[in-house]
């Protein structure tokens, strides 16, 4: 697994993808948080990081599929997948290696935003007047959300040889999982099932975590979603055997 992880990370770093992804994420979030008046913390007047945590998922929704779209699609197109699959590696080693490389890149993009926390901590009146528990919960939620989007991206990359198709499928699935279920649940036809439908979506659990409450049910939801997506990926990668 680590061989693949290292290869993929080297690939990101050598091909500028990593730098572009991280700088676009930070520039975008930085502008939204500090410069654009509609969303700026400075205009808003409350010492919290709501902007980052509310808009971060939407930035991830486009950036993460851009990271993951080439992972399998390119290997399939170039034929190098045959090379990988005839080396002494299990399917899981290949999938997890690729998955964690994408996830690590997401974390790398997230880490510099810790500076924002420090800034807001200092700007608070009195200093330190921030809901730290909420921020920690939100960070964990955002990281897990990144994990879910990465697993969706890896899956989408495997079902096609075309990177653009892979990107579009991944964005669509991320959107459906993030807010789609909640929006569907708000249609007034479901009755009692609407709560269940809402709970299928990411945003329900994400919002719960941003209150600073680390409920195991939410953690289990995120981890199961990641596992299910990766199992689908394994299933499709294994389907060449029959």
């Amino acid at each position: 697994m680590f061989e693949i992880l290292r290869k993929e990370l080297n690939g990101f770093l050598n091909s500028l993808i990593a730098y572009i992804v991280i700088s676009v994420f930070l520039t975008g979030i930085g502008l939204l948080m500090w410069v654009f008046p509609e969303t700026s913390v400075l205009e808003y007047g409350y010492a919290d990081m709501e902007t980052l945590f509310a808009l971060g998922p939407y930035v991830f929704m486009f950036l993460i599929p851009a990271i993951t779209m080439r992972m399998f699609a390119e290997e399939k197109k170039a034929g190098t997948i045959e090379l990988l699959l005839t080396k002494p590696l299990t399917d899981w080693q290949i999938i997890l290696g690729k998955y964690f490389s994408g996830f690590l890149l997401v974390l790398f993009a997230l880490i510099p935003t810790l500076v924002y926390y420090y800034t807001i901590y200092q700007l608070g009146n009195p200093v330190g007047n921030v809901d730290t528990a909420g921020v920690v919960g939100s960070y964990i939620g955002l990281a897990l959300l990144g994990g879910v989007f990465t697993s969706i991206g890896v899956f989408s990359s495997l079902i096609t040889t075309n990177q653009i198709v892979s990107f579009i499928i991944a964005v669509f699935l991320c959107f459906i999982f993030y807010t789609g279920f909640e929006s569907l649940a708000s249609i007034n036809v479901w009755g009692a099932a609407s709560l269940f439908l809402e709970q299928l979506g990411i945003v329900y659990h994400y919002r719960a975590m941003s209150k600073g409450l680390l409920d195991t049910r939410n953690l289990i939801y995120f981890l199961s979603l990641i596992s299910v997506m990766l199992m689908f990926t394994k299933f499709i990668l294994g389907s060449r055997r029959w």
Binding site: E3, I4, R6, K7, N10, G11, N14, S15, A78, G79, T80, E82, L83, L85, T86, K87, P88, L89, T90, R240, R241, W242
Partner: protein
């Protein structure tokens, strides 16, 4: 036996790509795997390298079954897939290090293996370049180096010389010859001279079925029932006289004086032609029997079914 293929069948949807083939490759042998495009060569190799599963039948590599011990087999086999897929954005050394890592080579052993492969495959001058900068011949060498980095017992090469220029073909062939000394090698091709230059034994496959499995020399003598002789007379003579010679099947003018004669191989036709010429007082300028080439054999073997 390094490789045992028994009653192997592979079906893609409706189509039988391989139909009940069996052959064996002994340790240290170089086997040429021959056949027209689409005959099932690559499919057989993909099954042997555990990339595709067999539909029925069994394949054993180093005594291990491909469906039971794929990981172990993969670590013993070096494989160069068709069209030689490579990570073009990687550097040569980086790429070899990655493949070495995958095979569990680390640290000093890995570095010394990489150095060895680079020297063996003649990549010394190219070792610090990106793969995308290399010409096709050098990329092929990188592909071979990659297949060899873990010192595999079995080497499987799928059309290693396709698309190379004649010089490169000769170089790659020499390289294969050099590395195959203590390994079992299967390599596929549709170029006949290659088989003559490299292999101990040939398996010819056509439309998913084995049509020949023999040493090259035996294959030649077995398959070719017609000898072709080129005769040249000073005089311009008709073919009727020649056709009356016992054993002649056909005789056609190529130019006015040159005649191509096809005859059975039961006995040598040349003395009879000479006798014929001296009997009729013709001046015989040339009498040459065409060498049986692998091309002829190949065509003989694979043409029947194409009708």
């Amino acid at each position: 036996m390094s490789i045992q293929v028994q009653q192997l069948t592979k079906i893609f949807g409706e189509q039988k790509a391989i139909n009940n083939i069996s052959f064996e490759v002994g340790k240290g042998e170089i086997l040429g795997f021959l056949g027209p495009n689409g005959a099932g060569k690559s499919t057989t190799m993909k099954i042997t390298t555990c990339f595709l599963p067999p539909s029925s039948g069994s394949v054993k590599v180093c005594g291990l079954d491909v469906t039971e011990e794929p990981l172990l087999i993969k670590s013993k086999v070096g494989y160069l897939p068709e069209n030689n897929p490579l990570y073009l954005e990687m550097y040569v050394r980086e790429y070899l290090a990655f493949i070495g890592n995958v095979h569990g080579l680390k640290g000093k052993t890995l570095q010394s293996r990489i150095d060895e492969m680079i020297a063996l495959c003649g990549l010394t001058r190219e070792q610090n370049k990106k793969i995308e900068m290399l010409s096709k011949g050098y990329r092929q060498r990188v592909g071979l180096a990659q297949a060899l980095i873990h010192d595999p017992e079995v080497l499987i090469l799928d059309e290693p010389t396709t698309g190379l220029d004649p010089n490169q073909i000769v170089e790659i062939r020499a390289l294969i010859k050099k590395i195959s000394k203590d390994k079992t090698v299967i390599f596929s091709t549709h170029i006949m001279q290659e088989v003559q230059a490299l292999c101990d034994r040939v398996v010819v496959i056509d439309r998913g079925e084995i049509v020949a499995n023999d040493k090259i020399e035996q294959l030649k003598s077995k398959q070719v029932e017609v000898a072709t002789v080129l005769v040249e007379f000073e005089e311009n003579i008709g073919v009727e006289g020649l056709l009356s010679i016992e054993g002649v099947i056909s005789a056609d003018h190529i130019t006015e004086n040159k005649i191509k004669i096809k005859a059975t191989t039961e006995s040598d036709i040349r003395p009879k032609i000479f006798a014929f010429a001296s009997k009729h007082n013709f001046t015989l300028l040339g009498l040459q029997q065409e060498e049986v080439t692998m091309e002829n054999v190949f065509q003989e073997l694979t043409k029947n079914k194409n009708v």
